[in-house]
């Protein structure tokens, strides 16, 4: 009962911030909040396969990009389609979808894509599946650049209505968190972790490896597509290079920093990296201490972030949260951490 009450309180708080923030905070802070929430959706969806199931996919951003483009194409008005995408196939150029259906369609599309792509790929073991999913990312990029009838090729895809607002992103974030939380802390979630931690033992006790991995991959891809749609309606214009290696590294850094086996860790990772980037970026612009002028060093923040990442790999590869959750003791801790510490035989 207490838990239900606290959750409801939390939701009310979230809604309050979502709707009230634009009136109480400067535009800059609202944007930062929105980006943090959006990145949280990305990283949470990434954590499902990469963190909990042990499939370290490097191709996740391919799904994000696919979702962005699908949703973007669907959302353009008929007039815009005629001018920007004159060669769009007939069955697509006579209608325009509102925000929510476009987002859902994007998610469904990427989930289906994940099932098709994942069916062969999820058979590969550890390192090779990472390499293969990286190949997928590159292929998506090439297709986006070349299918110019659909995507305007390497040119900027523009005209997407700026529908994404704080309430939308927070709403989807809550949905994502809820679904993932129910998934991860359930028998299916335990299967995922079994597949991650010991593939031999898992198949020995009858867990269907392919199915488990594929499901995690596809569900993650669904939310990636949804997030991509939100991102598209936030940016308004983008191009294929938006969804390539730079974004991939960014998301991986957030995932790893926060802790790959933890949902709250994903969010914490996003917040930390975002804040750290902002701080480093402001230092980048140069500053003065007394009479001493430190010149502007654009690009130094990324180098610094990279070094921090390596330090984490060396000293704390499990990230900030490792595999436990942040929840004032209200939410169940990961069962795994207890077994690993030898408390449970």
């Amino acid at each position: 009962m207490v838990r239900l009450l606290l959750v409801t309180l939390l939701l009310v708080l979230v809604a309050g911030v979502a709707f009230g923030a634009p009136y109480l905070m400067s535009d800059y802070f609202v944007r930062v909040l929105l980006i943090i929430a959006l990145n949280s959706i990305f990283v949470l969806s990434l954590s499902l396969s990469n963190g909990f199931t042990g499939v370290f996919s490097l191709g996740h951003v391919g799904f994000i990009g696919a979702g962005a483009y699908v949703s973007g194409i669907l959302s353009l008005t008929v007039a815009q389609k005629a001018s920007l995408l004159p060669n769009l196939p007939v069955f697509m150029n006579w209608f325009s979808m509102p925000f929510l259906p476009a987002t859902l369609t994007a998610g469904a599309f990427t989930a289906l894509l994940a099932v098709i792509v994942g069916y062969p790929l999820m058979r590969l073991s550890g390192y090779f599946v990472s390499v293969a999913t990286m190949g997928f990312l590159i292929i998506v990029n090439v297709v986006l650049i070349n299918a110019s009838n659909f995507t305007r090729g390497a040119r900027t895809f523009t005209g997407v209505p700026l529908d994404t607002s704080l309430p939308w992103v927070f709403g989807w974030l809550v949905v994502t968190l809820f679904v993932l939380w129910r998934l991860v802390y359930s028998p299916f979630g335990r299967r995922m972790k079994a597949v991650r931690d010991d593939t031999v033992a898992a198949s020995a006790i009858g867990i269907d490896m392919l199915n488990t991995r594929l499901s995690a991959f596809a569900i993650g891809a669904f939310f990636a597509g949804v997030g991509g749609s939100l991102y598209a309606h936030y940016l308004g214009s983008f191009s294929p290079v938006t969804f390539y290696f730079a974004m991939t590294m960014n998301l991986i850094a957030m995932l790893v920093l926060g802790g790959m086996g933890s949902l709250s860790g994903a969010i914490i990772g996003v917040i930390c990296v975002t804040l750290l980037s902002e701080v480093l970026r402001s230092v980048e612009r140069g500053f003065t201490i007394g009479d001493f002028i430190v010149p502007a060093l654009f690009g130094a923040s990324q180098v610094a972030l990279g070094f921090i990442f390596i330090l984490i790999m060396i000293f704390r590869p499990k990230g900030i949260m490792g595999e436990s959750e942040f929840g004032f003791g209200l939410f169940r801790r990961s069962a795994n951490s207890k077994i690993k510490q030898g408390e449970v035989k």
Binding site: F128, A132, G135, V143, I145, M249, G299, Q302, F307
Partner: protein, 300 residues
């Protein structure tokens, strides 16, 4: 131009491109063989070699010495990368090592952008190297740089072949690639072996970087990215971890890319990279050991 001449020209192009891929792939395979790690920073080591050479030519050094210095610079970079980033995580789980490798390339590329800015700058090729040769009434052209690439590739591969069959360290590298525990048991100094492997691999990357930049005419901090990915596909096709495999894979990939561009219809040509990476995935799924190693196990 008859089709024979066209084909001959494409063969020349393929060999030229293939040697570059082979040079990069060899280094990748050497490091993977010994460390079982994909060194994503390999492409940036190429970049270090290229930039070193460009800067030295800029201050007046002739081409050949600048090239040698570029190779040495790349080798030093590889040495430092192994020491600073890879040694501390040598026994960490695979995912950690993969991530560290990605982080190193991220740092190096951004550092390059920081210092040199991301816009391309000219590769100051000495005039003689740009001279072209024409055969068969101009139907076939290639430049001195193409010849130089071929010659240097040939020479360095012969040198590598000598190293891995006649020296204890080189034989030890092959042994360690096959069975690291057994290599330890015969008493090989593994630390030294790994350092040597990195230095050799990075030297090759440096050479490839200079030649690549020379052929492209420009250098920029992100230049290593594409060659790295392509070399990676080449190494997997040939058999990852095997030097011979890297050679075979490199030349086959070069041939494949030229073939796609030269002989397939124009609608398909822009999808060249998609085809290449689909091939990568196909090999991973059906022939993970590559063409030369049929017995590798990579599935669940």
């Amino acid at each position: 131009m008859s089709s024979f001449e066209y084909i001959l020209q494409q063969v020349i192009n393929a060999v030229s491109l293939g040697s570059l891929y082979a040079l990069v792939a060899v280094g990748l395979s050497i490091v993977f063989g010994v460390l079982k790690l994909t060194n994503f920073a390999h492409g940036d080591v190429m970049m270090v070699g290229a930039f070193t050479t460009v800067l030295l030519i800029g201050i007046g050094m002739p081409f050949i010495p600048a090239l040698m210095c570029g190779i040495i610079g790349a080798a030093m970079a590889g040495f430092l990368i192994e020491r600073i980033a890879y040694r501390p995580i040598r026994n960490a789980p695979d995912v950690t090592r993969l991530l560290t490798s990605l982080a190193v390339t991220y740092i190096l590329e951004n550092f390059g952008i920081l210092v040199f800015s991301s816009s391309p700058r000219n590769f100051p090729l000495p005039a003689t190297l740009n001279d072209s040769w024409q055969l068969l009434d101009g139907a076939i052209t290639f430049t001195n740089i193409n010849i130089l690439t071929l010659v240097l590739t040939f020479v360095s591969l012969i040198g590598l072949g000598w190293f891995i069959t006649k020296t204890t360290l080189g034989i030890g590298m092959r042994a360690a690639s096959e069975d690291m525990a057994a290599a330890q048991l015969v008493g090989l100094d593994i630390n030294r072996l790994i350092v040597v492997a990195f230095v050799v691999a990075s030297a090759f990357a440096g050479l490839a970087g200079v030649l690549w930049a020379a052929q492209a005419g420009v250098v920029q901090p992100q230049m290593g990215f594409t060659p790295l990915l392509k070399a990676f596909v080449a190494a997997i096709i040939g058999g990852f971890g095997s030097i011979a495999g890297a050679l075979v894979g490199g030349f086959m990939l070069g041939a494949l890319e030229i073939f796609i561009v030269a002989f397939l219809p124009d609608e398909i040509t822009p999808y060249r990279d998609a085809i290449v990476f689909s091939l990568l995935i196909a090999f991973l799924l059906f022939r993970p050991g590559g063409l030369l190693q049929p017995n590798r196990e990579v599935k669940l």
